[in-house]
Point group: C2
């Protein structure tokens, strides 16, 4: 592999638990001292010498690669080809009116290539894997992380090995197989699956795309915030509502705004709104009680955020606290209602976890906890086409009639 | 509704059957003389005075509204908010190598807001509906036209009424309901459904988004070609492969290139490759035999192009002939194989009709009918997440094992 080309913009990878500093590199995963999760730290003075707002505004690259100077990508790396990022930020007037918010926006990340925000993390993973000279990437997941890794790996010319528990929905496994992934269905629990993936990754030296281990993934996720700020004219919103499972996404969201703030590209920082499902809310519970994050059952239909042991929970908690944010839990019924609400007011079809942020925002707005004129962004993290079965629970039914106009007259001329 | 604001760029709506000229307007549908399908004709001299390539290149609007001067949209119309169009054009090196084509591109229109190319037509429909002072839009369809109309109508603040035959897949009906559409499930055949929709649209004066009737829809679809040409640096490709059902899409594809050619923005025109399913190929059969288009059964799993009576068939035939194009039919097995091929080589997941163009291209390339160094674009018209059931037929199976590393060793260290 020869001498590793370093990323000039990164200063260190710092453990969020013990504070130990590590060098960023191809084999930097968790803290070698205490096993804690690492956070990638940048040399903002160097970045400032390379990047200005004006320079950004003149770029024609409309994908996450627009922000290369702020990403953990070594110069000259081969970039992945799928168009990840630069998802639309919609002004949601009709929905805003219903919620009593005059400046509400929806960021629809379901329009990424494999239909979720996770593409942002997987794009970073496959580029770093190639840079490290690896030919196979791997992870364990039943959901969006898996499909985004498989899709981005295929486009990049990498092999992918995906470990899923045997209960994984057949539809999701199908998408993986179509992308040419080697799918290992493990006869056991998710924990068994995760453990097998870990030893196998170690054994065969594959590139590890488990968000529990790899500190570069949330750097990809942060690009959603870089975009939001740029789309608002280099301003941070006042609030950003995010659904939270493992915690990696909300931590990435915060990191993006902090980066821009450190560079002087935005003047303020938003408050984060962490939304979890009532049936699985270990991060929000820890925030509210001040107690450490403790295991919870995974009782929610929002499968993408049903994470009983959030491995990036501390990062998430730190982000919510630092932003002076809010937490709110929602029921599955409230999640399903948000799905209908987003669809019928805005033409956006989100999966359950994808609309959980909006469900939480609605709840807070109804309690009068969000100022009416605040600039609020609700992040939709995944496409509803990924989970039509859940949508069916709330969609209602069509009107079934014989092919007879007079029957319709009773309906439309009432 | 007051005096209708005219589109300054349109010269007439001409019947493709009898040649009669009509004025373009809010209530212009089919030919009032013979009932034929109309084609929208432009005043290219006027458009040239308004638009240059340089002007386009400097635009920051990355959606189909980038091309307003070339669209049937009256000045000052309220544009629809969903980000339709400007889908990625990927250089497909790996797939190209397999097909023996050195300059192959894939245009992925499955990344539109409701996950198909039909959004381009529905965006035009909802804007014209509002311009005409209407508050409800309607169509009959079981598929992508329906969901794109429902989604774009919701975002635009319009009501939508969608007629589906009772056999419509529940998953597709669900998407419509989430978008807040009034869905009428008709106890009868598709023909019964279409007829009921027609009389109901007449009765209640809704805006008609049936591609069989409304000549403005293929004007939206043509934007896919405007984008392809611009993404190639204002060059037409040598070939464009398109799946064909009703015929409206391939006619739109041709129109886009012709517009740019008439404006002098591109110097050449591509040959169209019309790909249909063996089990339902009335357009290709008519092209090959020279006989008129005649009804065929709808025997293919590619439901979005299973159209036995293609109402825009003549428009399609004219386009293929004028382009000196090719026709090719593919089996369902070839369609499914193309789905795997696109997924595993390029990370693109298309629905069956979405990858049919690629299946046909593969077949022609293998026969040596496409020059190796030709610039070829294969259009993917819809997202595979819309029809996971078909994908399951070809995806294969995961490897099922107990959580035991030694079993994996047999697999990976063979």
């Amino acid at each position: 592999m020869g001498k590793e080309k370093k990323e000039k913009n990164i200063s260190a990878a710092v453990c969020i638990t013990c504070g130990a500093e590590h060098e960023s590199g191809d084999h930097t995963y968790t803290c070698t001292k205490c096993g804690g999760v690492l956070e990638i730290c940048y040399d903002y003075r160097y970045i400032k010498s390379q990047l200005t707002r004006e320079k950004l505004l003149n770029r024609k690259e409309y994908s996450l690669w627009r922000y290369l100077e702020l990403l953990p990508i070594a110069e000259g790396s081969k970039l992945s080809p799928l168009r990840v990022g630069w998802s639309p930020l919609y002004r949601a007037e009709k929905l805003g009116k219903l919620l009593g918010l005059t400046r509400l926006y929806i960021k629809d990340d379901g329009l990424n290539p494999t239909a979720s925000l996770k593409d942002r993390a997987s794009a970073i993973a496959v580029v770093r894997a190639v840079h490290a000279g690896m030919t196979t990437v791997a992870c364990s997941s039943t959901g969006n992380a898996a499909s985004s890794l498989a899709g981005n790996a295929a486009a990049m010319g990498l092999k992918s090995v995906i470990f899923v528990p045997e209960r994984a929905p057949k539809a999701k496994v199908t998408q993986l197989l179509i992308f040419g992934a080697q799918v290992i269905s493990v006869q056991g629990t998710y924990e068994d699956t995760f453990r097998l993936s870990s030893v196998a990754i170690e054994q065969w030296g594959w590139y590890n795309r488990n968000a529990a281990i790899n500190p570069y993934l949330s750097e990809g996720k942060k690009t959603v915030s870089l975009e939001i700020a740029e789309q608002l004219g280099f301003k941070a919103p006042d609030y950003v509502a995010v659904s939270v499972g493992d915690g990696c996404t909300i931590a990435g969201v915060w990191k993006g705004f902090k980066d821009l703030h450190a560079l002087g590209f935005i003047e303020t920082l938003p408050k984060l709104i962490s939304v979890q499902a009532e049936g699985c809310c270990p991060v929000n519970r820890a925030f509210a009680t001040g107690a450490p994050i403790a295991w919870m059952e995974e009782n929610t239909l929002a499968d993408s955020i049903a994470v009983g042991v959030p491995r990036n929970g501390e990062k998430a908690l730190g982000a919510i606290r630092e932003s002076q944010g809010l937490v709110v839990n929602v029921s599955d019924e409230e999640i399903l209602a948000a799905m209908r609400l987003l669809g019928s007011t805005s033409g956006i079809f989100g999966e359950p976890a994808g609309v959980t942020g909006t469900a939480g925002l609605k709840k807070l707005a109804e309690q009068g906890l969000i100022p009416q004129d605040a600039v609020v962004v609700s992040l939709v993290t995944g496409n509803g086409l990924k989970d039509v079965v859940s949508a069916q629970k709330t969609a209602g039914s069509p009107l079934c009639i014989p092919p007879d106009l007079s029957v319709l007259t009773d309906v439309f001329d009432r």
